[in-house]
Symmetry: C2
Subunit: 214 residues, 2 copies
């Protein structure tokens, strides 16, 4: 029991963020800072094959790989864009949509984000149903055999062309429900409040708040 | 926050056990009772396709299906036998090992447990390395977007022939490390203390204990 408490203290103070994506790290760091938790950027990125069929599985695969390497509580996420009229694609393939065997390939020029967006807009060309959701699953692995997970969803639709230069990934073409701006036109604070990752992270934060501090 | 607390109270009092397996229910019920939590047996079994590649994914699939149907906190597990010399098989296929396309099929007579054990003993015949582990992953889904998971492992080896009539599944051929009896020869209390499911459940129990009660 004494050991349990020591351990909870450790969690509440410092959490390794299992990502090599600086944009993602900054989003998470900002939110954790608000409850007095220090987000640690790994000294090096741990490469894993995200072979899961679901966001939960991929988030767990990442968290486990970072835990194995750094032996401290790890928070990892997997997220993606789920487009209803594309049967849920790109889903777990969001970050490499340009190169997968669905709807044709796209040259990764000038960069992968742009290629992914080009492919998406091509596949949705002329389609009336442009509804989509961003979905994020976060796994907080406390030790190798125990963890917490949460899911956050942001419903919206895909715009006709990219707008805005904040954020990353599909942000420039994703317009959250009830808004007229794309996710890439929102300030970080505004984005965190409504985003899939922000919502999922808030649920993890609620867990951490509920844990005894001493 | 008020809502959060109400919700934690609810969790601590009653948890639906997402299983149709009475043996498993009784094991879990006994352990939860020890910390004042009532285990609820579902009015009807919810059938799901356990198509995940991992115990975590399958446990989550089950928990989600029960949550969708009963809208209350659900505990579900997935577990299996991992045999080292069989490259990890039967693993997630443990309960239907007899019928999968690995190592030949087995007639399910007189019952599936027996068929699974027969196939296992056939595949291990003459093998020196009989090491195996039972592994369980438990998911406690608190609401549709938030949960806790834990993993428990019991290392051991596969005996030459079935012994004992307690427990279920592969228990009659699994001999825990350091013991001379099979899992099916242990009393329920003794089994819960060392079993994969018992250990995984204990970790979930630690979580629940750490949650505020009012």
């Amino acid at each position: 029991m004494a050991e349990d408490n020591k351990y909870v203290e450790e969690i509440v103070r410092r959490i390794l963020i299992g990502t090599g994506n600086k944009g993602k790290f900054k989003e998470i760091e900002r939110i954790l800072k608000g409850i007095g938790i220090e987000a640690i950027l790994p000294e090096e990125e741990v490469k894993v094959e995200e072979k899961g069929n679901t966001f939960l599985e991929n988030a767990y695969i990442k968290a486990e790989a970072y835990y194995e390497r750094f032996k401290m509580p790890v928070l990892a996420d997997d997220s993606g864009l789920v487009v209803y009229s594309l049967g849920g694609f790109p889903g777990v393939f969001s970050s490499r949509f340009w190169e997968i065997d669905y709807g044709g390939y796209e040259e990764p020029v000038p960069d992968k984000d742009t290629a992914n967006i080009r492919k998406l807009l091509r596949l949705l060309k002329g389609k009336e149903d442009r509804r989509a959701r961003f979905e994020a699953v976060i796994v907080l692995l406390l030790d190798k055999d125990r963890g917490v997970f949460s899911r956050g969803v942001c419903e919206g639709y895909i715009g006709e062309c990219p707008k805005g230069d904040k954020g990353f990934g599909y942000d420039p073409v994703f317009i959250p429900s009830g808004m007229e701006r794309t996710m890439a036109e929102l300030d970080p604070e505004e984005k965190n409040r409504i985003s899939h990752r922000g919502k999922a992270l808030q649920k993890i934060v609620d867990f951490l708040k509920n844990m005894p501090k001493d």
